[in-house]
């Protein structure tokens, strides 16, 4: 993968959307283009969830082979392509975690967070900034404890049982905390959609 001049984010997103549409129409060369544009971000996600290089590479292969098989699943009128692919990759990695024998969440969330002086790789596409601001705002509106548990579930793929054990509370308590948090999160996000 030769490095090339970095396109602006908007251009990169349009190029990706275009490649996804071509892939859905059966243009195979589009897959390599999509891979080149998104592999760094998607591999980062798989690696974070699975905590294992080999597992993450297998998951990444599954993501793109699957994408090739069912490119028509992406609806270009809905999500931004990189948001959709990021969710797709994370879902695949979580599936692997839940059905396989992998021990996930090997990297604690604080340790794995990007360092302040660490810039994303040049060709790592980011999801829409406005949408990002809103989810961070709504998450930030939750109490610290709930927010921490929801983040641990998202970034480390932890289960209710693991979260309850780590916090040393009964399973039912953890479920209750997170469900209340999700309800408030939903209300906050929905309010932002109406506005």
């Amino acid at each position: 993968m030769a490095s090339r001049p970095r396109p602006s984010t908007a251009e990169a997103r349009e190029a990706l959307r275009d490649a996804m549409a071509r892939l859905a129409d059966g243009d195979q060369s589009a897959l390599e283009e999509i891979y080149r544009a998104t592999r760094v971000k998607l591999f980062g996600i798989c690696l974070r969830i699975l905590g294992d290089q080999k597992e993450a590479e297998d998951a990444l292969q599954d993501v793109y082979v699957n994408l090739w098989q069912r490119a028509d699943r992406y609806d270009p009128t809905r999500a931004s392509p990189i948001a959709w692919l990021a969710a797709f990759a994370r879902n695949r990695a979580i599936d692997r975690l839940r059905t396989g024998k992998v021990r996930g969440g090997a990297v604690p969330v604080e340790e794995a967070a990007p360092l302040a002086d660490e810039t994303p790789l040049a060709d790592m596409l980011l999801v829409d900034a406005e949408q990002a601001a809103q989810i961070h705002k709504c998450l930030g509106g939750l109490d610290d404890r709930t927010q921490g548990h929801i983040r641990a579930a998202f970034f480390e793929g932890q289960t209710y049982a693991q979260l309850a054990e780590a916090a040393d509370v009964p399973l039912g308590t953890m479920k209750s905390w997170i469900r209340r948090g999700l309800m408030r999160l939903r209300a906050c996000l929905e309010a932002s959609e109406v506005a």
Binding site: T99, S176, R180
Partner: protein, 262 residues
């Protein structure tokens, strides 16, 4: 059965209504396991409102991934992707090459048998749907017409001398598997968990807890479909409610069966 806001199952240990939109949120966050995960996948395939809510959460959560540092995969990963795609193309289109007429004949025979099996499966599903009519609140099975068009693999798992059996149908291209546990009843103390035994002798992989008395459609992750070929077999184990607890050995094997292509 219609819409996603009905029949919220109450959980006694928390004060929050756990309705379908909540389950979609938990799924998007990655919290569902076992039978709940299977049920959610089945519902995703059959309930547009539920599917839309899951995708709504996925979209909102997606920007959080920007906080995850990117990482460069090794070059072999792309080679692996190319190889797998090339292999699938070769398998899917042997007719394009005049040098392999025998394959074409074999493919045609396989397609005819698949059509025959599809008819049978439809009939079985029709019976199952008729049974569902008396079980309100249960999600219906996805019809075989929707789950499509590749040669399926089937496995029958007879359960002891009872005459009962589990019918498992896997449609490769759709990554969907239909598990029919009609005739099985729950005893309230145990669940039965289905496991894939890969043909290559690899580790057993859980396919989840079987729902007694139902035909259920599930989407399989690629980690599992990769192992699901001719010669792969299935075992059914008896477990505590909810399936095998983490960190303990699986329960006794109560039934076995093997996948064969049709």
């Amino acid at each position: 059965m219609n819409g996603s806001e009905n029949t919220p199952p109450q959980t006694p240990d928390d004060g929050v209504q756990r309705d379908d939109p909540m389950i979609a949120a938990e799924w998007a966050l990655g919290l569902l396991e076992g039978e709940e995960l299977l049920a959610a996948r089945g519902k995703y395939a059959t309930d547009p409102a539920f599917a839309a809510r899951k995708e709504w959460w996925d979209d909102w959560f997606a920007p959080l991934t920007d906080a995850i540092p990117g990482a460069e995969p090794r070059a072999q990963v792309w080679d692996g992707i190319s190889a797998r795609i090339a292999a699938q193309q070769a398998a899917a289109a042997p007719a394009g090459d005049a040098a392999v007429p025998t394959n074409v004949v074999a493919l045609e025979a396989r397609v005819r048998r698949w059509q025959w099996v599809a008819g049978l499966t439809s009939a079985a599903a029709a019976v199952a749907l008729a049974l569902f009519a008396f079980a309100p609140g249960r999600s219906p099975v996805e019809t075989p017409a929707q789950i499509a068009a590749a040669a399926p693999m089937v496995a029958t798992v007879p359960i002891g001398e009872t005459g009962l059996r589990l019918d498992v149908t896997y449609i490769p291209e759709s990554e969907k598997m239909l598990v029919a546990a009609i005739g099985l009843t729950a005893d309230g103390v145990h669940d039965h968990e289905l496991w894939l035994v890969p043909a290559d002798g690899g580790a057993l992989q859980s396919l989840g807890v079987v729902t007694p008395g139902e035909v259920r459609s599930m989407v399989l992750p690629a980690a599992i479909t990769a192992k699901l070929g001719d010669g792969a077999s299935l075992v059914l184990t008896r477990e505590p409610i909810g399936g095998k607890p983490e960190g303990v050995d699986a329960g006794p094997v109560v039934a076995k069966g093997a996948f064969t292509p049709v």
